[in-house]
């Protein structure tokens, strides 16, 4: 059962996304800000992280950079989630090392296909 870490500061958004993903067979961990997201990533070693960008003091991009900088968590694919649909946000997300970018409100089928695409190479590497 793939493990997904959701880093999101809005409680309802976090809850609903967690429950909808659980229904698709993922085991979900949640964090409500950047620092706790980084420590959760180190502790739980999830297969994938869904990272909100507007997180308050430490934004999702910075959290992503830190997770990518640590050898223990560098390989975890991260999908950025943001309510801004700006092309520059997308560009920035890719620059800091995100594997994907999704706008909120989340379109679940589209997010699921991105999650699957991200998990596939991990599986391949695990087998190899």
């Amino acid at each position: 059962m793939p493990k997904i870490l959701i880093v999101e500061d809005n409680e309802m958004n976090r809850d609903v996304l967690a429950r909808r993903l659980q229904r698709h067979g993922f085991s979900i961990y949640c964090a409500e800000d950047g620092p706790s997201g980084i420590s959760a990533a180190e502790r739980e070693r999830p297969d994938l992280i869904l990272m909100d960008i507007a997180l308050g003091e430490m934004d999702g991009w910075e959290a992503t950079q830190r997770i990518k900088a640590s050898p223990a968590t560098a390989d975890i694919p991260i999908i950025a989630l943001t309510a801004h649909a700006l092309a520059s946000d997308r560009q920035r997300s890719i620059e800091v090392g995100c594997a994907g970018f999704e706008t909120k409100p989340v379109d679940l089928p589209r997010l699921l296909s991105k999650i699957e695409a991200c998990l596939a190479p991990t599986n391949y590497r695990a087998i190899a």
Partner: protein, 492 residues
């Protein structure tokens, strides 16, 4: 009020224009190019030229009168006439040689000479031509203005001449001629009249120059004030527009967060209800979810429009397969079309394998066009075609969505791409939609350097054609021939 008074001023200005304009034009011909920059200098030069061109006509009346009144005219009259006539040379010298200040000194010296010469020979210190002495400071003021180092030079010149005259007069007071009293009286009359006319002429011309200058200055000041006010107003409008856009963008963004929760939870409950066989709740939850989706679409459209109008919409250009994009988007509409017994067919035979474009914006544009086509077509056919159109050095991507629906009335077409326009006879309650969609499509296409065309015949169908440049965002400035307008009309 300001406009009215300005107009009256201009009218007044125009009324006395012709004479002064003719004189100005004539006088202006002699002003050397290097004096044209300074308005004050120009004014002085005009006075100088005016007095030198028209003055000798009046001045020469004096030697003429002397010649007539003197029973035995001698060489002194000829010298006086020659000196006065010499003033006519000055304008030409100024025109070809320049050196205005030197000419002023020479001219004033010549004037003093003429006056004192005539005084010496005809009446001495009680000469009837003595009144001309008054014109010396007057002309000096006209020629050099009130603030000039030349003032001292001219004053020195005057004193020197006066001392010389006094010396000569004291040494030989009998050097002058002794005219009969009647002749002196006649000369006095002529001389005083001429002085009066001359001084009046100069004063009037000076007043006119001053008045025209003041008129022009007032006009210029008024125009300047108006332009400043206009710029201020434009700036304020721009600021207000930016604030409105900013507010719209912020509000739309804030609306999406709670809407996210509504959509997420209703979808979750819907899925659970379906699983648990709670058929009673399913339609209600579907309605909540559907209404939430509609609201989201509207908010997204407003947000995008606000971004586009604020110039904050960016392009994200990627290499992609246009046929695949269009096919993927159309998948979402096949079911809706089927419910209206309408078929969606694809013509991708001439589609390029890959192109550069902003996938998201192309998807949204095609989605909107398909949404429209499905909405207004029943028992019909929707054809989606993608092709590459090569014109000269240009290779454009052309996406067309053609339906066999109700068509669009001719009078509606021009407002089709404006905000919140839905065809009059197709109320939004029947067909739905906010009317923002097509406005967005057009702005997306323009942002990518392309355009969107519509051809429609009522009762037969509509065809929307999107034309995008090979490299989006570039060569925006050269629309294809015949496509300069966003609209094309098919013969009805």
């Amino acid at each position: 009020m300001r406009c009215a008074s300005a107009e009256a001023g201009v009218a007044m200005f125009i009324r006395f224009q012709p004479t002064i304009e003719w004189v100005n034009h004539f006088v202006g011909w002699f002003i050397p190019a290097e004096m044209n920059g300074d308005r004050e200098k120009q004014k002085q030069a005009k006075m100088f030229l005016f007095s030198h061109i028209f003055g000798p006509f009046i001045g020469n009346v004096i030697p003429a009168a002397i010649y007539v009144l003197d029973p035995h005219p001698t060489y002194d009259v000829a010298i006086l006439a020659l000196s006065i006539t010499a003033f006519w040379v000055f304008p030409f010298v100024l025109r070809w040689w320049g050196h205005y200040e030197a000419l002023v000194i020479l001219s004033v010296q010549n004037l003093i000479f003429c006056i004192l010469w005539s005084c010496y020979f005809y009446g001495g210190v009680t000469s009837p031509t003595l009144s001309w002495v008054l014109t010396i400071p007057l002309l000096a003021f006209f020629y050099i203005g009130p603030h000039s180092r030349l003032r001292m030079v001219l004053l020195g010149l005057f004193l020197f001449n006066f001392v010389a005259f006094t010396a000569v007069y004291v040494v030989d007071p009998t050097g002058g001629k002794h005219l009969p009293l009647a002749s002196l009286q006649g000369l006095g009359l002529v001389s005083t009249t001429c002085t009066g006319i001359y001084v009046m002429m100069m004063a009037i011309y000076y007043a006119k120059i001053l008045a025209s200058g003041a008129e022009l200055e007032a006009e210029a000041r008024q125009h300047l004030a108006t332009s400043v006010a206009l710029r201020q107003a434009a700036l304020e409008a721009e600021r207000a527009g930016a604030a409105k856009t900013e507010f719209l963008a912020k509000t739309s963004h804030e609306l999406r967060t709670p809407l996210s929760a509504i959509l997420g939870y209703s979808k979750l409950m819907l899925e659970e209800a379906v699983e648990e066989g709670d058929t009673h709740s399913v339609p209600d939850l579907e309605n909540i979810y559907g209404a939430g989706q509609d609201l989201l679409k509207l908010i997204n459209e407003i947000l995008d429009l606000a971004k586009l109008e604020a110039g904050r919409m960016e392009l994200f250009i990627e290499t992609c397969d246009p046929g695949a994009i269009v096919g993927d988007v159309a998948q979402d509409y096949i079911e809706a079309a089927r419910r209206k017994r309408t078929e969606i067919v694809f013509d991708l035979s001439r589609a390029p394998k890959e192109c550069l474009c902003d996938i998201q914006k192309v998807e949204e544009t095609v989605g909107q066009l398909l949404d429209n086509a499905v909405k207004f077509t029943e028992n019909g056919k929707i054809t989606v075609s993608v092709e590459q159109k090569i014109t000269g050095s240009r290779a454009d991507l052309v996406i067309a969505v053609r339906d066999t629906g109700i068509g669009i009335a001719r009078d509606v077409i021009p407002s089709l791409f404006e905000h919140f326009t839905v065809s009059q006879d197709s109320s939004s309650s029947k067909y739905g939609g906010t009317g923002l969609g097509l406005a967005l499509c057009q702005r997306y296409c323009r942002l990518m350097g392309g355009h969107i065309l519509v051809e429609s015949t009522v009762g037969e169908g509509t065809c929307f054609t999107v034309q995008l440049p090979w490299k989006p965002g570039e060569n925006t400035a050269e629309p294809l021939p015949g496509a300069t307008q966003a609209l094309q009309f098919a013969a009805a």
